[in-house]
């Protein structure tokens, strides 16, 4: 039985383990709106059992803002790891289209600094200050839903929407970072992020 015939069986007997590598294109879109911010993320997920996936996502963050009133720089990395479960019935004609429920554990570490800060104040006068480089880390959990569809020839596109809950972040930081890579903007313990991906699936056999 060929691989494609096995997949069209639409049951465990037709299941074939595979690896899917992906690229988050949200960062490229965000950079169109905010050229100073750069996010790059790749992902790897493995269907270790029929409809059961384990995924790892890794990314880099780089921010360099230079304006008349401020200069802010940040750089770091993040990781997310967790399971996905497909809840969509897999039809023989589209066996790789998925609707996934996802859980993730995330970690991020970054260094940031603000060598020039000017805070305007119409009464007291403009106040100039700076913040030296400091490290910052955060841990969080995520839950959400994602959708992946095969365009053809093992190429997929998909989007995911996840709610996030911050579990831990660096205490006594002199300055809260503008953005925690993989989590989102700071200021709240919860967040919601939308991602767009393209993938390539590599069957094991």
């Amino acid at each position: 039985m060929s691989l494609s015939q096995g997949l069209r069986a639409n049951n465990d007997a037709g299941y074939s383990p595979s690896v899917r590598v992906g690229l988050d294109v949200s960062g490229f879109a965000r950079q169109l709106v905010e050229p100073e911010t750069m996010f790059r993320e790749i992902s790897l997920d493995v269907e270790w059992k029929y409809n059961h996936f384990v995924a790892v996502e890794a990314g880099l963050l780089d921010i360099d803002v230079q304006k008349q009133t401020h200069r802010y720089m940040a750089g770091g990395y993040y990781l997310r790891l967790g399971p996905d479960f497909n809840v969509l019935g897999r039809k023989p004609e589209a066996p790789n289209d998925l609707v996934l429920l996802s859980l993730r554990y995330g970690f991020s570490k970054l260094d940031h600094e603000a060598p020039f800060i000017l805070i305007p104040d119409p009464y007291w006068g403009d106040f100039q200050t700076a913040v030296d480089s400091e490290s910052y880390s955060a841990h969080w959990i995520e839950a959400g839903i994602s959708l992946k569809t095969e365009l053809g020839y093992n190429v997929f596109i998909g989007w995911s929407l996840r709610g996030k809950l911050l579990l831990y972040n660096t205490r006594e930081a002199e300055m809260e970072p503008y953005f925690i890579g993989g989590f989102g903007k700071t200021g709240r313990n919860t967040g919601l992020m939308l991602h767009y991906h393209i993938y390539y699936r590599i069957p094991f056999r």
């Binding site: 401020h70 589209a94 104040d121 009464y123 365009l151 989007w159 503008y178």
Partner: protein
Amino acid sequence: MAFHNKPGFAFRRIFFVLSGIIFLCWACQEDEICEDITANDLRIGFYRIGQDHDQWAVVDSLRVFSLEQADIPVHEHLTSVSVLELPLNPATDNCAFVIDFYPITDTLWLTYQRETQFISVECGFTMFFELTGINHTNNHIVAIEETTTYVTNTLDEHLKVFIPDPGNGDEPQPGFTGK
């Protein structure tokens, strides 16, 4: 087989439509108004002592100036005042204001911790404050109650300032109250 008849096309069509709607909603964010989201004034509400703590009092008129810059009024000739906004000094950990209730004046001393906060790429930085101490004279102000110690870019009321109820003949004994 035509493309639209190919299996899975409906799924992909739903995907693209949903994606477009979601992306459109996400992209259509309101422009930031930097002055609004970087202004972090201390917000004081006036209340009559002995009356409902949820109902503002109305002060006929007042003016405010700081001890550090007495020649530059913060507010001048305000009338029908229920809520007063005072700018905390971002360069120091303390400041003081004189509130002139015409003709009685009171001085309010404030100490706080400062935290630099990055708002956005366009708006830059602002200063958040956490109140650590409040002292005041008692010439007209009877008492001050802290509602919240964090002074950020929200519209929260931070202090309740209690002044006498003229109907009850309440008048504070001149003096000083510290916290």
